[in-house]
Symmetry: C2
Subunit: 427 residues, 2 copies
């Protein structure tokens, strides 16, 4: 790979998510050469993907060109590349655009959908971890209703209008709420020929509460909000299979649906060469110490979702969320400088800033370390926090305007069916 | 096809472009049943496609769900369908979702790119007539620069950084200007490792002036603006072939480029069953009389780009632009009601409201019937007119904000590479 040579040590970062970007920013003015590799040329603000899937926001509003985030930094190089293997012996990464040597490597490859080995669910379900996947889901939801218009088979029509979401975490809950608002506010106007009251939204959770990582109050209130919106919440039910038509569970319950959204699990995005060994924890995450150093290595680090850092409070590793990723990225940036300067490193300390989820208009739940609240005020806090963390002034403005518009008009207008891959375009 | 039966005569409209939508709106409160068929569920504001290709606007901002435009109208039905054939004997259309009988048929299928039979150019060039095509072009432009970084072959690098636009009409001129602004303002920051001054933008026009349909002053000034931006304008040069690497012309000139954008011609989007006969004019357009009735038929009409209505001023048919389409759609709406009520029809009269093109910031040319002007004021007029004709309040707001932002910051932020069709997603 064609990277200018310097006398600075080279830090290669794999992944431009929250962790990779915050690390790169910290290193921006230091005496290191930073090479960031990502298979996309944009950073994705994953917490808002569900709004793209449900027509509330346009895809470009929650993404940001990586080059632009880091354009003013000297010694920074971005390459659009898919990392295929890590050679830990020769200290190099192998990518689809060539090899690259490193002095320090930081794996920030994030998480991917975990189907727990069920290939039939993997084949037949929809995921929502990337922008193309979110656009794909948006298109499918709309296509289902167009198709429902065409059939006179009532069972088929109902299956097309039913949505089953597996997983009661923030992604599942937020998607279920948004789908319910579409069902209540938009479908009756868009499809006067269909009895859209028959459309059903199911959310299925294997344990006894939704939003498991949050407080009991948040969990109860979220369930309450979902039920008010007409979502069917199923607890203590585990989905066992989905053949593209029927969802089976570990109980007598079955669901007929054309759309299963799998939000039931994530795992670390493992990379060949660093995907097997005693440094790999449950869920394909890389075991790291308090300096984010991967177990057994001296110059290979992992940050964010792919890193498994255990603490007394989190014996299975810190939660796979934006906050630990951002904080680890920043801290590792400082530690890398200390390491190069032969100074002692500072151990990472996670500052839990709380968590939150939105269910619908005026309906959100917020757990802060000292306060827990739900409802309208929580909803405003949720919006403010998400606008604040979104990268880019233009994105913030456009998202804000869309939210105001959607709120005032009870609408979500970005509902185009765009699936260019259905038809092969040139090149 | 599953359309409710009524006692009203059924008008089937093929195409939800400017002509089809303005016709449907006119018929909204009349005693007719309207069925609008389109292969997309959205209306595309084609005049701004070039801004999607060049990262200035997000795709959803210039599109609008067709169902939403017409949601309050009784007796209106939309179906997402690809019309495969028209049976003019039995008065029915054959689509990929079934057959549909009609009392009246209006072909508003618009225009498609005309390669004048050159299949090699068709295979190797990029078009810009649809939203997926525009996103495809945007992705290619950005991918080219990512690739240019990787090669050490200077000829290949230059070819990746060169852009050849064939056709000096509004599409070609506006795209060339926008590309030049990207080259001057964004590329040097995004690609500090590349000498982006070497990037060349060529626009090739077969006749002796660009913007042929406009005034001499507009044409001269547009050329002047393009040259100020660093675009190479080639006149009296006709492109003869493009093998994916080298553009050959009818002169000694050749161009090495990885990207040829073909904006050199359009033709009517013909539909089987109505694509051959003495009613087909040059460029696959349907010959219509002053009532938009297709020659030789009593109940089949054509409006917009696909219709060829000749006048003394336009012996080859009205220009293929938004204004004739909108005006014909409205007028035909009124005439269909008259026809059903057995009243005499009113002949169509084209009101030329002028034409305009924008080349870059503060640089536009406007020809109104009484005034012709160029420069900053023309640029404001261009923006105002485009915002006015854009459908949807949210779209107008979002486009306006993007324009203000792009103007103030000399930027275009929607520059993500999103080509989901490169990788087959589920379903």
């Amino acid at each position: 790979m064609n990277i200018p040579k310097t006398s600075y040590p080279r830090v290669v970062i794999i992944g431009g998510g929250f962790a990779g970007i915050s690390l790169a920013k910290k290193l921006s003015k230091q005496e290191v050469q930073v090479v960031l590799l990502d298979k996309n040329n944009y950073h994705t603000f994953q917490p808002l993907l569900y709004q793209v899937s449900t027509g509330g926001l346009e895809p470009d509003s929650i993404a940001y060109p990586i080059r632009k985030i880091l354009k003013d930094f000297p010694n920074f190089h971005f390459r659009l590349a898919n990392v295929e293997e890590i050679n830990t012996v020769e200290n190099k990464v192998l990518t689809d655009i060539g090899e690259l040597k490193f002095e320090y490597l930081v794996v920030a490859s994030g998480a991917e959908t975990n189907y727990f080995g069920n290939s039939e669910i993997e084949k037949n379900s929809m995921a929502m971890k990337t922008i193309p996947e979110s656009l794909n889901l948006r298109s499918l939801i709309l296509e289902n209703f167009e198709e429902a218009l065409l059939t006179s088979d009532l069972n088929e029509r109902n299956a097309l209008m039913n949505f089953v979401i597996v997983g009661g975490g923030p992604t599942g809950v937020e998607l279920a709420g948004a789908l319910a608002e579409i069902k209540n506010g938009i479908l009756p106007k868009d499809y006067p020929d269909l009895d859209t009251r028959l459309a059903q939204i199911h959310i299925i959770q294997s344990s006894d509460c939704i939003l498991k990582g949050m407080s009991d109050k948040a969990s109860e209130k979220a369930e309450d909000f979902l039920e008010k919106l007409g979502v069917n919440v199923w607890k203590n039910v585990r989905v066992t299979n989905y053949d593209g038509k029927t969802v089976t569970t570990n109980t007598d319950l079955t669901f007929e649906t054309a759309t299963l959204v799998w939000a039931a699990g994530v795992k670390g995005a493992a990379i060949k060469g660093l995907s097997a060994g005693d440094f790999v924890a449950k869920g394909d995450r890389l075991l790291v110490d308090e300096f984010n150093l991967v177990k057994g290595f001296k110059n290979i680090f992992a940050v964010g979702d792919v890193a498994c850092m255990t603490t007394s409070e989190f014996p299975n590793g810190l939660p796979m969320m934006a906050q630990p990723a951002i904080q680890q990225g920043k801290q590792l940036g400082e530690n890398l400088v200390r390491l190069i300067e032969n100074k002692p490193l500072k151990p990472f300390e996670y500052h839990d800033k709380g968590s939150m989820a939105t269910i619908g208009r005026n309906k959100a739940v917020v757990d802060l370390p000292r306060f827990k609240f739900q409802g309208v005020f929580a909803w405003y806090v949720w919006m403010f926090v998400h606008l604040f963390f979104l990268i880019g002034f233009r994105n913030r403005m456009v998202v804000f305007i869309n939210w105001v518009y959607n709120y005032v008009r009870f609408d979500r207008e970005a509902r185009l069916i765009i699936r260019p891959f259905k038809k092969a375009l040139k090149r």
